[in-house]
Every structure is written in C-alpha cells, then in structure tokens.
Symmetry: C2
Subunit: 332 residues, 2 copies
Amino acid sequence: MVKAKKYVIDKPFDGVPTDQNIKLVEEDLPALQDGDVLFQAVYLSVDPYMRPYLKDAKSGTPMIGEQLSKVVESKNKDYLVGSFYLVNSGWRTHTILNPSKTDVRIKPTKEYPGVPISLSLGTLGMPGATAYLGLNELLKPKAGDVVLVNAAAGAVGHVVGQVAKIAGCKVIGCASSPEKIAWLKELGFDVVFNYRTENLSALLSKEAPNGVNCYFDNVGGEFTDTVIRKHMAQFGRVAICGAISGYNATKPFMTESWSFPILFKCVTVQGFIVYANFNDQQWASAFEQMSKWIIEGKLKYREHVTNGFENMRKAFYELFSSDNIGKAIVKV
Amino acid sequence: MVKAKKYVIDKPFDGVPTDQNIKLVEEDLPALQDGDVLFQAVYLSVDPYMRPYLKDAKSGTPMIGEQLSKVVESKNKDYLVGSFYLVNSGWRTHTILNPSKTDVRIKPTKEYPGVPISLSLGTLGMPGATAYLGLNELLKPKAGDVVLVNAAAGAVGHVVGQVAKIAGCKVIGCASSPEKIAWLKELGFDVVFNYRTENLSALLSKEAPNGVNCYFDNVGGEFTDTVIRKHMAQFGRVAICGAISGYNATKPFMTESWSFPILFKCVTVQGFIVYANFNDQQWASAFEQMSKWIIEGKLKYREHVTNGFENMRKAFYELFSSDNIGKAIVKV
C-alpha cells in the first residue's frame, strides 16, 4: 500500500502564512482500479496565487497547485509507467487519478533538448505562458515602448522583461535586492531599481518622462497606485497579473479612485488569469517561441530549487519574503 | 463692425461652477481677410467635460466647446454664406477663422431628412459617437449581456441604452428623477432606478445576479466603485466615459484599490475620449447607422434647449444639478 504525504489547511489563513496555517498529513492510498494511474510528484510548484485562492479555505482543505509527476503504476493503457505529466493535484507526493473521470487537470509534458524538464513548471509552463501571453496579447508592446514590470526577478517578471527586450522595448524592472538587480541587468533590462531604496515616482519621471506605455503588474498596492495615477502614457496599457503586496494584508490598500487617470489618459487596465484568458493554441505558440529562444540563448531562466517535500512550506513562505530568485520549485 | 459676445473664465474654478467663475464679455471683430470666414453660432453645446478640462484654467481663458454655426460672411470660396458647420470655437456668438490656417476643428454638417440639424451636437454628433463607439468598440456587447449605464437620461446615456437594446442586451439604467425614469422606460430600458432612493448594490444583486457584463460609466465616484468592486461579471468590460460625480469635488473620492476585483474577475477597464480613440471613418459609420435608426423610429432622442446666449451659464450649471433630460444645447 502506498502512503501519500500531503499538505492541508490547518488554521485558516489570516495575514502572513505560517506553520500554524498549513500542516503535513499522511494518507493511505487504495489499490488502483481499472483506468487508474498513480502519479508520483517529482517537482512541485509554489506560486503566490495559492494564498488568495485559499483565503477563505476551511481547515482540512488541501493546498492547491501543479506538480510535475511521473507515472509509477498504471491500469490505463494511455498512461505509461515512467512518463511525465503536469498534474494539478495540489501539494501531495502521490496521487491516484482516473484521467477520464477526474476534473483534475492532467497535461502531458513536452521535452525540449537541452532544457530541464522542470522548466515545464516555469518558463515553459504556467508562469511563462502568463508572461508571454499577458505581455503580447494584452499589453501589445511596440518597439520603442516603455515597459514596466515589478517583481521582475520572479517567475513571471524575468520572462516579461526579456520578451519585451526582444520586442525592442525599453524595459524598466523593479526588484528587492542587489543580487536580483545584478541578475536582471545581466538579462538585458535597461533600468532596474530597488523599490525599497529608490523613489518610484522620481525614477519613472526620469526614465519614462513621456509615461509608461505597458505596465505588467505583479504587485498591486501602493506601487500600482502610483503608476496608474501618475505615470501612464496616453493610451497606456496595464495588465494586472498579480497583487502580491495585498495577498497577506489584513486591511485593504486605500487610495484615490482611478477613474480620472484612466479616463483622461485613455488607459486600459486589464486583469487576467492565464488559464481563463488564453486557449491551448495560444499556450502552445508561446512555448514554441520561447523554447526556441531558450535554445538559442536569447531567453535565460533561473530556478530556485528547494529540496525535499517536507520543505514545501518554507519554499512557499519565501515567495512573500522576497527570498527567492526566478521560479520557485520543490524537488521531492 | 461685428461685435462678438463670448464667455471667459473669471475666477478659476473651485467646486461647483457659479457666475463668479464665468463672465460674459464683448469683443470687436476685425474685418475679414482673404480666406477668412465669419461663423455665427446657431446652437451651442454644453457638456460636462468642459469643467475638468478647464480645472486649472486661469482668469481670461475662453470657455471651450463646440457650436453649430452658420457662415454669415465669407472671403473663402470653399465656405458659402448660409452653410452650416460644427466649429469648436468655444462659447462665443461670432468667430472669424481662416480654415486653412487655424487649429480650431471645423467640420461640415450632414443633414438627414426629418432630423433636426441641432442633433449634430447630440445623437448625430460628439455625444452620439461617444455612446455608439464606446459601447460597440470597447464594451462589445453580445445579445443577452447585462449592460449598465448611469446618467442614463443624459446626452450619452440614453443613446447607450437604446443601442444596447437594439443589440439584444438587458439594459439597466440609472437616473435621478421620476420624469427621467419614465422616459427611459418608454425608450425600452429593461430596468431603470433612481440611485438617490434605491440601493445600487441591492438592485444589481437582484437584476444582475451573474454580474454586469458591460458597464458604461459616466459618473465615477462611489457608484463606479461599487460596480467595479462588487458587481462585474467574469470577463466584464468597463468603459469610463466620464466621471461627473468628481468634476466639482474639492477632495478626491477614496476607496479600496481596484486591483483585486479587476484581477480575479479578469475585468477590463478602459478610459476613452471619443476624439482620441476613434477615427473619422468610425464616426461616420456610427452616424450612418444611427441616422437610419432615428428615421425608422428605433432610436429616439430628446433635446433640452435653453434659449438665449445669455443663458449659457444656466444651461451649463444644470448639467451638474441634474436638471436636464437628453442633450443640453443653447439656441442663440
């Protein structure tokens, strides 16, 4: 009999997540029935969205998310032992699913020569599609546009900036440590600054004197408020991809209404969720293009790997303490 | 020698406009030079946008806006005496312009049989283009969508609602008096309510239980805040056309940031200015379609005519006191 380890909500979230909120439990899995597949996690993704999506989750709710899994036992001829899948089964080591009967998303992985398979949780996975499609389909940058991205050293941000550079834009990125800033400069970002030590408004007045044309927002809160109310160009576009500054907040960020700046600058602000806004074909074309760029050395990636399923929580907390660079994943 | 009357800023705006802010002055016009045309105002438009566009205007600045003018003297073979033009020369009775040398917008009017020429300042003019193009090009309503419009009995709002009805939508309109509400029901609006006496959130929960798909916003402030934070449908679209609730405000409307509702509902919020966002061809196609509907009786209009150039200010103030229905114009 297989024992699965999994994480569930213990005390519902309130503020910054701690070990009081998430607990590790064990579960005995049953024998496989006809059609069933046993997936074993190889890499698991931790992502900021997990916090707001579980904000009202009760005690006992499983932690959500995607994992790169290997088929270790199968009673389903379409799922061969040893093959890899992306399975949206949450924070757990082993999962039995009948693919034709479950609502859980299961996607075969595509392998690219010279590219680690774990990138299917990063640049060639959900965060990469988010960056590429959010930028190209919503912000539609033109050569010469000023593109601003925050959390620029994160899983999505570092892809946004590089794709915008390839499109011929002036890219301004924001990150929280000298190490991140150095890395983003290596990646070709034109301007990188630390929002903790530099004044955002002064920096944008200097580096984007005619305003920001495309703002890819992962952060929200005061940062976004300043950009939208004071620094967008006429006909500027904003893609709201995340709002991490507010995910653990216990009171909302208050501000002046955005009606006036949106109206008088003819700005478009678009919120999006990559699974909801874009279809399979758009995802596939994003990966086709980005995998070429990776192999050609034009698009660089970085993974922040935490070892051990028992360290999932630590990897998750680091998303909020700015202690990771690139895509955070956990290797079982 | 022709004497022109015109209005200029006296004391700069601060709060609700009064006669302290706008004064009537006279001006002697010079003799016409070769190429010059003397336009005489027949109808003048008053519109809410004039207030925010002049918010920082100094004493002596002319009041801005469009008028329907008749050529009364001409030294320009392309401009025949007796012909009508839309001239963006502000609040003045007489204007001398050389069309090939001026930046002032001068557009020939198009006449439609059975339709008053004054409608070129209303449904077949700027406000109509605003309604038709804002709705169709930005909100893109589909049959069955819930469309919400506020200031629905205004120059733009009553066109938005009727065009949305023609598109097969459920139209919810908001207005400030029983008379306006009765008229909007005559026009075919599905739901009309008085925001002064009914609770917006309760009404939308009942009438748009799955959320608002298209929100055409003329008002801003608390109304818009409630709609965007609580009542948009997934993938809902918002067109910010105006924010009249804030034009005379002496302090900004404070609210919770809109990042979360825009993000998690995948909402698009788009500010627009009809002259900036849409080209001549789009304007022409809007008028072609709407003039047909007017002649067929499918699209109704209403003008609120104030007589006398000396009453321009009164007509303007009424925009902010909700004392007009339909398009406000002044007949000289």
